[in-house]
C-alpha cells in the first residue's frame, strides 16, 4: 500500500492520515471497505469463508443482501465477474466499513459483464447509503453512479462537481473532452 507524501484523510471524526502530524493508521485499523480491480477474493476459500474472514462470524444476511446466497459454498474461481463483484462487496461490508473504495470496478470487462456489474452496483450502492469513492476512467459510468465527480489528471485535481455541472462548465479542455459524449464534440 502506498503512503501519500502529503495531505490528510479524515472520515467523520476519525483522522486516518495526516502527513503534517505524522499520523498514519494501518489499513487494518481503518474502516474502509476496499474492492481492488480484480476483487481480491481469496481463491482457497469458499464464498461463505471469504465473508467470515472479514466479519469474524457467519453473515448469511450479507450474502442475501447482495443476492449471492446461492453461491455460498462455491470457490471464487467458479463464479462469473458480476458474481465475484457482489461477493467482494458483501465481504467488504462484513467489516461494517465507514466508507467504500471501489478501484476500477469496470476495468477490462466485456460489455455484458460490464452491464451486469453496473446494474449490481446501482442497486447496492443506493441501498447502502455508504460514502463511496469509485475510481474509473469512464465518465459514463461515473455519471450513472456518482452524486459528485472529481476529475484527476496526472495527480492534479481539475474539477469537482455533478456530471451536469462538468458538462455545462468544464474547467478546461481535458474535462470538456472527458465529459462530453464523443458525438457532441465539435470536429477538430
Amino acid at each position: 500500500m502506498e503512503r501519500p507524501q502529503q495531505g490528510r484523510v479524515r472520515v467523520g471524526d476519525e483522522l486516518w492520515f495526516d502527513a503534517a502530524r505524522g499520523v498514519n493508521l494501518r489499513p487494518e485499523r481503518r474502516g474502509v471497505g476496499y474492492l481492488p480491480q480484480e476483487y481480491g477474493l481469496f481463491p482457497q476459500m469458499t464464498v461463505a469463508e471469504n465473508i467470515r474472514f472479514a466479519a469474524r462470524r457467519e453473515r448469511p444476511d450479507l450474502l442475501t443482501q447482495v443476492g449471492v446466497e446461492h453461491l455460498a459454498g462455491l470457490r471464487p474461481g467458479e463464479l462469473s465477474g458480476g458474481e465475484r463483484q457482489r461477493v467482494a462487496l458483501a465481504r467488504a461490508l462484513g467489516r461494517e466499513p465507514a466508507v467504500l473504495l471501489l478501484d476500477e470496478p469496470f476495468g477490462a470487462l466485456d460489455a455484458i459483464t460490464r452491464g451486469e456489474i453496473r446494474r449490481a452496483l446501482e442497486e447496492n450502492l443506493s441501498r447502502l447509503a455508504l460514502p463511496t469513492l469509485l475510481v474509473t476512467h469512464s465518465f459514463e459510468d461515473a455519471a450513472a453512479l456518482a452524486a459528485r465527480i472529481a476529475v484527476l489528471d496526472r495527480g492534479r485535481l481539475l474539477q469537482v462537481g455533478t456530471a451536469a455541472e462538468l458538462r455545462r462548465n468544464p474547467a478546461d479542455a481535458t474535462v470538456a473532452a472527458l465529459a462530453m459524449p464523443a458525438a457532441a464534440q465539435p470536429p477538430m
Binding site: 500500500m1 487494518e28 481492488p36 480484480e38 481480491g40 481463491p43 471464487p76 474461481g77 467489516r95
Partner: protein, 282 residues
C-alpha cells in the same frame, strides 16, 4: 534429397545424445539395484547395522524437519514480505550454507559448538557437550538442509499475490492472520515441495555429520554414514543400505513432484494466477 539426409542425421545424433546422457545417469543406480538378488537385498535390510542406521536417520531427520518447518516458515514469511535495507545480503547469508562444502560446514559447526569452540566453550562449562552426540546430527541437518527449505519457502511466499494480502489488511487482518490464513494456504504447495527437498538433502547428508557428530553406531551413524563404514568391510551390506537410501530418495522426489503439480493446478483456477517459481528468491 540433401534435406532428408540432414534430417535423418539430426534424428540419429539426437537419439544418440539422449541415450548417452540417460545411460550415464541411470547406470550407477541400475548397477546398485541389480547387484544382488532380491532375497539377499531384503536380508541386508534387516541386519542390525541397517536397522540401527534407519532409526538414527529417521529420528534425527524428523526432529530436524519439525524444527526447520516450525522456525523456518515464519522466518521465510518475514524475509519474503518485509522490505528492509540489506535484505539481499541477509538472503545471501541464508543461502550460504547451500554452497558451502559439507565438510567445511562440519568443521564450522565443530569450531562453533565443539568443546573448545566459540559457543561450545561456554556450554562445556555448563556440562553440555554437543559434538559427537545425536544432537550434533540434528544441528548438522538444520545447518545443511534448513537453507534448502528456506530458499523454497521464501520463493513460495514471494509468489503470493500482494493484492490479496493488502485486501486482507483492509478487512482487518493483522500480520499474523495474513500469514496464517492467507499467505500460507496459498503458498502451501511450494512450502511442501521445499520441505521435501530439505528432507531429501537431510537423509543424504554425510560430510558435515561425520565431522561434527562422528559415526557412532546407534547414536550418530545415519544411513549414509553406515554405507561409508561398511564399504571396505562388507560391500554387500553397504550396497543393501545404499538401495534403501535410493528407495527413500525416490519416494521423496515423487512426493515433491506431486505437491508441485497440485499447487500449480490450484493456482490456475484462482482469479489472479501467480507464477509458480521454486528458483532462488529475488
Amino acid at each position: 534429397m540433401r534435406r532428408a539426409i540432414a534430417r535423418v542425421a539430426l534424428a540419429v545424433t539426437a537419439t544418440a545424445l539422449c541415450s548417452l546422457v540417460l545411460g550415464f545417469l541411470i547406470l550407477p543406480v541400475a548397477a546398485l539395484l541389480t547387484y544382488q538378488p532380491i532375497p539377499a537385498l531384503v536380508e541386508g535390510f534387516g541386519a542390525d547395522i541397517a536397522t540401527e542406521a534407519v532409526l538414527v536417520s529417521l529420528k534425527t531427520n524428523v526432529i530436524a524437519l519439525a524444527l526447520i518447518l516450525g522456525l523456518g516458515t515464519p522466518f521465510a514469511f518475514i524475509l519474503a514480505r518485509l522490505r528492509f535495507p540489506g535484505r539481499p545480503v541477509v538472503i545471501t547469508l541464508v543461502e550460504l550454507p547451500l554452497v558451502t562444502p559439507p565438510a567445511v560446514a562440519g568443521l564450522g559447526l565443530l569450531v562453533a559448538y565443539g568443546r573448545a569452540g566459540l559457543l561450545g566453550g561456554s556450554l562445556a562449562t555448563l556440562g553440555i557437550e554437543i559434538a559427537f552426540s545425536q544432537l550434533a546430527v540434528i544441528i548438522a541437518l538444520l545447518f545443511v538442509a534448513g537453507p534448502f527449505y528456506l530458499r523454497g519457502a521464501i520463493a513460495a511466499y514471494e509468489a503470493v499475490d500482494e493484492n490479496l494480502l493488502d485486501v486482507a489488511s483492509t478487512l482487518g487482518a493483522g500480520p499474523l492472520r495474513r500469514m496464517v490464513n492467507i499467505a500460507t494456504p496459498l503458498a502451501a504447495g511450494g512450502l511442501g515441495a521445499a520441505a521435501a527437498v530439505a528432507f531429501a538433502r537431510g537423509i543424504g547428508e554425510f560430510g558435515a555429520t561425520i565431522l561434527f557428530a562422528g559415526s557412532l553406531r546407534g547414536t550418530t551413524q545415519t544411513l549414509p554414514l553406515a554405507v561409508y563404514s561398511l564399504f571396505e568391510v562388507n560391500l554387500d551390506q553397504a550396497i543393501a543400505i545404499g538401495v534403501l537410501l535410493i528407495l527413500v530418495s525416490a519416494a521423496v522426489l515423487l512426493t515433491s513432484k506431486l505437491l508441485i503439480a497440485r499447487w500449480a493446478h490450484s493456482k490456475s483456477i484462482s482469479p489472479s494466477g501467480a507464477e509458480l517459481s521454486l528458483s532462488s528468491p529475488s
